[in-house]
């Protein structure tokens, strides 16, 4: 079984959108078939099959944006339909013109299942009685220059790894990059790779060293020959460290988050706060959970906010939009991201089409995504494509806060803690549970009045919770 990966289709391409699947799971594939359309930063292009077989599985839904090198489909002989792709040692023959690095990793336990390119061709020699092996085989191979067959420049198999491709505990890294990172005390997992399948190469490590001057500081005896300029800048830029200071290496999640948040700073934000009466919503939650008890589902307050946000976004397409340079993009799907705190950092898995999912589905999916987030098992797919986010610090007793937008989303809802508030009702002083929600808005996408309309309806949906199940 082989993985088909998102190819690099241009020099500047870092990710591509799997715009449309042209072959379905179970379809028989002939080498050269167009599997899908890929939308890059530049154009829509074809994703071609580089080997024949059966399309076992789509690993990525249409419409998903994934980094280059991400497996998007599995091609096999049709027998391994139910097998988990990661169990399979990844062999990708999906070499693209610019990006022909192919791994050829026969599974250790069954070395005969996959014939390596080099093993295939002797078949021609094994059958001298064939009418004319040369005319049968080599012309095709030679003219098409397919690595599978007899191409002269065959791809080198990469060092076999028994781990799955998405195992982040041992990131792909060139030996040189690994050595430089080690010499500089950098955590390889914290470095973003620009090579094939995200392999970290020397240039990435050197960039990381240049980016994180302070990180560089403590190991004074490191060999500096590899990056004299980086070391020099480290000395200049870093705040002087004292003996009391500690430099803590960060993981990839924190690095990515730092980058995204810095990007977020470029978004012109404004903030709107409303107070929500939680009386009915909390009672509604009790009712809902009673009815779902038999299914083992417990809807959280956060699930209610996700659902409410989704319903309100469907009412207000102007809020379910992004700023695209000089135009607004109205997103067709309502995909709500949920901020999840994990030991390794903040992650934002996305509930897709949350407006079309009932509370039970949202709850179930949230529980699964949060567990994956904590285990570090979220795929890029599960963290991308959001159109709006919900962040909740209520459980930490925060009354009110403002959240930062996760670009290209145009809004994020910050949910505070529920507190009893005294209120006069029918002349009597009663205690009503209330909380504050703050909407952060991309001003390029929405003006104050538009955003206020969205927030007003959101509050109304929360305070009339039957709307959440309509």
């Amino acid at each position: 079984m082989s993985e088909v990966v998102m190819p690099r289709l241009s020099d500047t391409m870092e990710e591509g959108e799997l715009a449309k699947w042209l072959k379905n799971e179970g379809d028989t594939i002939t080498k050269g078939d167009i599997l899908a359309e890929i939308e890059t930063d530049k154009a829509t292009m074809d994703l071609e099959a580089f080997e024949s077989g059966v399309l076992e599985k789509h690993l990525v839904e249409a419409g998903t944006v994934v980094p280059i090198g991400t497996p998007v489909a599995m091609i096999g002989d049709g027998s391994a339909k139910s097998e988990a792709p990661k169990k399979e040692s990844p062999k990708k023959a999906s070499a693209k013109k610019d990006e022909p690095q192919t791994d050829d990793e026969p599974a250790a336990e069954e070395p005969s299942v996959e014939k390596s390119p080099a093993e295939k061709s002797p078949e021609a020699e094994d059958q001298p009685e064939a009418e004319d092996p040369l005319v049968e085989k080599s012309p095709e191979a030679a003219s098409r220059n397919q690595p599978e067959a007899n191409a002269k420049a065959e791809p080198s198999p990469e060092p076999a790894s028994t781990e799955s491709a998405d195992d982040s505990s041992r990131p792909r890294m060139s030996p040189l990059a690994r050595k430089i990172a080690k010499d500089h005390g950098l955590d390889p997992a914290a470095i973003t790779g620009s090579g094939p399948q995200g392999r970290v190469v020397r240039a990435d490590v050197e960039a990381a060293i240049a980016d994180e001057p302070s990180q560089n500081q403590p190991s004074q005896n490191q060999p500096s020959q590899n990056s004299p300029s980086a070391s020099a800048s480290a000395v200049n830029v870093a705040a002087p460290l004292t003996g009391k200071d500690e430099v803590v290496a960060v993981n990839r999640i924190r690095k990515v988050a730092a980058k995204r948040l810095t990007e977020s700073q470029a978004v012109p934000h404004f903030f709107l706060t409303s107070i929500v009466s939680m009386e009915k919503l909390l009672a509604f939650r009790v009712d809902v959970n009673e009815s779902l008890e038999s299914q083992g589902i417990k809807v959280s307050v956060n699930d209610l906010f996700v659902r409410a946000a989704a319903v309100t976004l469907r009412q207000h397409p102007e809020a379910n939009s992004s700023w695209g340079d000089d135009a607004l993009v109205r997103r067709g799907n309502v995909n709500v991201g949920i901020a999840v705190a994990t030991d390794s950092g903040l992650l934002v898995p996305v509930i897709r089409n949350a407006d079309q999912k009932d509370l039970a589905a949202i709850s179930r999916e949230t529980v699964a995504l949060a567990a994956k987030a904590r285990d570090g098992k979220l795929s890029p797919d599960e963290m991308s494509g959001g159109t709006f986010s919900v962040s909740n610090l209520g459980m930490f007793g925060i009354d009110q806060f403002t959240a930062m937008i996760n670009p290209p989303e145009a809004g994020i809802l910050a949910v505070g803690a529920t507190n009893p508030v005294p209120m006069l009702r029918d002349g009597e002083l009663v205690e009503v549970p209330k909380l504050k929600i703050t909407l952060t808005v991309d001003h390029r996408v929405m003006d104050g009045a538009v955003a206020a309309g969205f927030l007003r309806d959101l509050v109304e949906n929360l305070e009339k919770p039957l709307r959440l199940i309509l």
Binding site: A142, A177, R202
Partner: protein, 334 residues
């Protein structure tokens, strides 16, 4: 320094060694009256007579055996096997006798024999006459295998091979005989077992030998115009193999491509690649890649033959891929 072809360099070296040492003699098919299928021995029969330039029947096993026996008794035969493909008939003599006698006779006898033979395809000689079997011999302890890529090395290494006390397979290439180059005048004794840096570079190492070096140098020149500095390592000797020079080059460039005329599987490139893995692992920024011949019996038809043989376009493609695989931006090593 005199400019001459590879063919002339070989011819003059044979002449010089025949003159220098009366124990040196040439033996092979059609090397005398016909002056050699590729005219390497032109004029030598006339000059040195039939005892020093021996024409034989078509009998590779026989005349190779004669040469080995005479070498054991003190002569220094230079055998011409018309192409390396025909050495298969003499392979028992070469592998089981020439290569083993010194060891199996406790070091008491040596076999100072040179087997000159051209390999390579590209002349439409079809599958059985176009092979690159040098790796078969490079695999055998007791043999030395040299594969010069230019006239100067052809002279220096042939001289060294004739004077070496062990059997040397001297690999020539049909595509190199007309290659011109400057050759130092006077006696030049090369050192068997050292590679040369045919062109210095800093961004990527291309390792090759024999005719492949010529192509590699052309490709390196094209890359230089694009701002990519390719270092070309000319192995010159396949056994012994100069592993240090290879690894030193890769430690400098961090990237390596092997360009070989032989077949990919179990080929020269596999050995070089393993050498790099063992000696320069921590310096690699991209997987080592190989460019080798298509694994088919070489077709006769010209377009197919051309397509099956590794060429400059193949090498260029793989160099580009290797650069891309390590995010080469042209500003490293500066």
């Amino acid at each position: 320094m005199t400019e001459m072809t590879y063919r002339q360099a070989l011819n003059e070296t044979l002449r010089a060694e025949l003159k220098r040492d009366e124990n040196v003699y040439l033996i092979g098919e059609e090397i005398g009256v016909f002056e050699g299928s590729y005219k390497i021995t032109a004029g030598l029969l006339k000059e040195f007579g039939p005892k020093r330039v021996v024409d034989t029947p078509i009998s590779e096993e026989g005349f190779t055996g004669v040469a080995i026996g005479s070498a054991m008794l003190g002569l220094r035969p230079v055998v011409e096997i018309m192409t390396i493909n025909f050495s298969l008939i003499a392979i028992d003599q070469i592998v089981n006798h020439a290569a083993k006698i010194r060891t199996m006779f406790g070091g008491e006898v040596s076999v100072p024999i040179v087997i000159r033979t051209p390999g390579g395809g590209g002349q439409q000689l079809a599958a059985t006459h176009s092979q690159n079997l040098e790796v078969w011999y490079a695999h055998i302890p007791g043999l030395k295998v040299v594969a010069p890529s230019n006239p100067a090395d052809a002279k220096a290494l042939l001289t060294a091979a004739i004077r070496d006390d062990d059997p040397v397979l001297f690999l020539e290439n049909l595509g190199l005989y007309n290659l011109k180059g400057d050759v130092p005048d006077g006696e030049q004794v090369g050192e068997i077992g050292t590679a040369a840096i045919a062109k210095e570079g800093t961004d990527i190492t291309v390792v090759s030998y024999s005719r492949g070096v010529v192509t590699a140098l052309e490709v390196a020149k094209e890359f230089a115009e694009k701002g990519v500095s390719v270092e070309v390592v000319d192995l010159r000797s396949l056994r012994p193999l100069d592993r240090n020079t290879i690894c030193e080059s890769v430690r400098k460039t961090s990237r390596a491509v092997i360009f070989e005329d032989d077949l990919l599987s179990y080929g020269i490139g596999a050995e070089i690649s393993a050498t790099i893995g063992e000696g320069a692992f921590d310096w690699l920024d991209a997987p080592v890649r190989r460019v080798a011949g298509a694994e088919v019996p070489l077709p006769y038809a010209k377009p197919l033959e051309r397509a099956a043989m590794p060429d400059a376009a193949d090498l260029t493609k793989v160099i580009n891929e290797t650069l891309a695989a390590s995010a080469f931006k042209g500003d490293q090593n500066v």
